[in-house]
């Protein structure tokens, strides 16, 4: 077990290192940020001063080495635009993104699972066919376009909900969150719904497939033969069987929710990491882009590591297979 964890940890380190090379060199080949940051009427001396200040005059491998040295100390460089440490900027925007992703995950589960359950239990019902058509649409619709339509309908036409910003936040256990105020909840609803749309479709499909499979199993027929009530069969015998895989998969999707939040945050002007990234890309703020990408790489590698270890604890066969390979 320990050997397995150590091997996985080493693989994770290797991945993070490789990604840091790819990301750093990739980002630094593009454009020249100096011309964006120095005023157009600056003379050559000003520009050279700026280049030296930003460390752009050194060879790129040396810049990378400095970056790596900094990264080991938790310093991913200073933002060209804000002059603040990039890591601090990202951590500052992270709570808003996490809050949005959690809300979206919550919506996906409370909306997707009941709809999937219904359409799995009554596959021939017209409502079920509607739900399935909706979930196919949910997979096809580009997130950003749905976001636009949500704004058009609820903010512009109906005027029910605000379409930009985070609204009031309040502190709960020391964390600033919109979910603690009514104004905040009104602000988070549309972006969270937008972000959760794909995951709602996913939850519907997973639940429906699970329910249909479980309902055809002998243990359901056996439970009926025991005279168990339909409600108990569905909510105890069937749901208990499908909830474990469905919730596991949904949990795994959390990482992709954070990735997708880039789109939603841009549309709804939600002040999270995703919007920060897009702004940084457009302004060629390289340290922030690199820092964001490194944080995401770390984040995903971490999720995969945890999942791998969890699976190996739950299922000893995974471990054996790995040793054989």
């Amino acid at each position: 077990m320990t050997v397995f964890v150590i091997r996985r940890l080493m693989q994770a380190f290797l991945v993070v290192f490789l990604m840091s090379v790819i990301v750093f060199f990739g980002v630094n080949i593009v454009g020249d940020p100096v011309y964006m940051l120095v005023s157009p009427d600056a003379d050559q001396a000003d520009i050279e001063a700026a280049i030296r200040r930003l460390g752009l005059d050194r060879p790129i491998w040396e810049q990378y080495f400095l970056f790596l040295k900094g990264a080991a100390q938790g310093n991913l460089g200073d933002s060209f635009v804000f002059g603040e440490p990039a890591l601090k900027l990202i951590l500052h925007h992270m709570p808003a993104t996490l809050e949005l992703a959690f809300s979206a995950l919550f919506l996906a589960i409370v909306i997707g699972i009941p709809l999937g359950l219904f359409s799995g239990l009554y596959p021939d019902n017209p409502v079920s066919k509607g739900i399935m058509a909706g979930s196919i649409l949910g997979f096809s619709l580009p997130t950003f376009w749905v976001g636009l339509m949500l704004i058009l309908l609820f903010a512009v036409e109906l005027g029910w909900l605000p379409s930009t910003g985070r609204g009031d936040t309040a502190s709960v256990f020391g964390i600033q969150t919109s979910l603690a105020t009514w104004d905040g909840i009104r602000h988070i609803f549309l972006p969270a719904l937008n972000l959760s749309l794909l995951k709602i479709s996913l939850a519907i499909r997973l639940t429906r497939a699970g329910v249909r499979e479980a309902m055809s199993q002998d243990y359901v027929k056996y439970a009926r033969a025991k005279g168990i009530s339909t409600g108990r069969i569905i909510f105890v015998h069937v749901m208990k069987n499908i909830m474990i895989p469905v919730v596991t998969v949904m949990g795994l999707e959390f990482g992709s929710l954070i990735g997708f939040s880039v789109v939603t945050e841009t549309i709804f002007a939600w002040p999270g990491m995703g919007k920060l990234l897009i702004d940084a890309i457009l302004q060629l703020d390289r340290p922030v882009v690199v820092a964001y990408l490194m944080i995401m790489v770390l984040f995903f590698v971490l999720i995969n590591l945890v999942v791998d270890i969890l699976y190996s604890i739950l299922d000893p066969r995974v471990r054996l297979q790995d040793q054989g390979a």
Partner: protein, 305 residues
């Protein structure tokens, strides 16, 4: 054995169908899939024929009049024709802009789809056929990449590469090749284990011949299915990146760029500039997905009884 037991169980012997004919019949049995197929064909035709069926070339500055800007649907352009879908901020006829945008969106989606398919197929076949350490390394890389959402991979790449058609296609290819590789490898592994491949090897056929003449044709069905779904997702992903302003530049206005341009006008009620290109995008992506979805049902032998 008697006639009575044999006859009803094998109605297919009555008329001999080629696999393609059977596939066609089964595919068009579904009304939704047939409808989606028709819509897709129309969209592709519109995109191909755009220069001949639009009143203006929206990117020929001589044909665009800024005074026509932001006209609602049905307005008359300065040049005299009716702008059925209205015009955008720069005075371009939206109907024309959408058809030209479709050309770009579909070309980018198809190009990246085909390149990713070829690369993924080659890698998958190599992994399945060579096996051993090569396979282990390749599949590690594939698994690693698939653990990141494709959209995030593409976003990372454009963040690093910058704007432009070539860069977007490269980003989409890198984001998607792994899906093809995994599919091909999985199918090829199954085929490799089958007796006919063993038989072919016993006959002393060359490895290349076994791979290309025997294994590859059997991987085609799942490849087609993955290909349609991935192409739809490439079109959608390109639109998303372009909408975010990190995809195609203004000089290559795909549907995503058009939608992004209309976004600033939407809050003031000029919905059409974003909505109509959006509907075109939606129809394209949804029809490809529906066709792909049904292809999966028809081509997947496991679902057949």
């Amino acid at each position: 054995m008697t006639d009575a037991t044999l006859q009803p169980s094998s109605p297919a012997t009555a008329k001999v169908e080629t696999p393609f004919q059977r596939f066609r019949t089964e595919f068009f049995e579904s009304r939704i899939a047939s409808g989606a197929f028709v819509v897709l064909v129309i969209i592709i035709l519109l995109a191909i024929l755009a220069p001949w069926i639009t009143p203006q070339n929206p990117y020929d500055l001589a044909q665009v009049d800024v005074l026509d800007g932001r006209l609602p649907p049905g307005s008359e352009a300065f040049a005299g024709y009716t702008m059925w879908l209205g015009s955008d901020g720069a005075g371009r006829d939206l109907y024309s802009a959408i058809l030209y945008g479709l050309r770009i969106s579909i070309s980018v989606g198809l190009a990246s789809g085909v390149i990713a398919l070829l690369i993924g197929m080659a890698v998958g076949l190599i992994a399945a056929y060579v096996g051993g350490r090569t396979e282990a390394v390749i599949m590690r890389v594939v698994d690693l990449q698939l653990s990141f959402p494709a959209s995030l991979v593409a976003l990372m790449l454009v963040a690093a590469l910058g704007k432009g058609v070539d860069k977007i296609i490269l980003a989409l290819v890198v984001a998607q090749w792994a899906y093809y590789a995994r599919t091909v490898r999985a199918t090829a592994l199954v085929e490799r284990g089958k007796e006919y491949v063993e038989a072919a090897q016993c006959l002393g056929l060359s490895k290349m011949r076994v791979v290309f003449r025997h294994i590859l044709p059997n991987c085609l069905a799942p490849l087609i299915v993955v290909g349609t779904v991935q192409t739809a997702s490439a079109v959608s992903l390109e639109a998303t990146l372009s909408f975010l302003g990190v995809g195609l530049p203004q000089t290559e206005p795909s549907l995503g760029v058009l939608i992004a341009n209309g976004f600033e006008y939407m809050l003031s009620g000029r919905y059409w500039i974003s909505v109509f290109p959006g509907i075109a995008l939606l129809l394209t992506v949804a029809s490809i997905n529906l066709v792909g979805d049904h292809l999966r049902d028809v081509l997947n032998p496991r679902l057949k009884k």
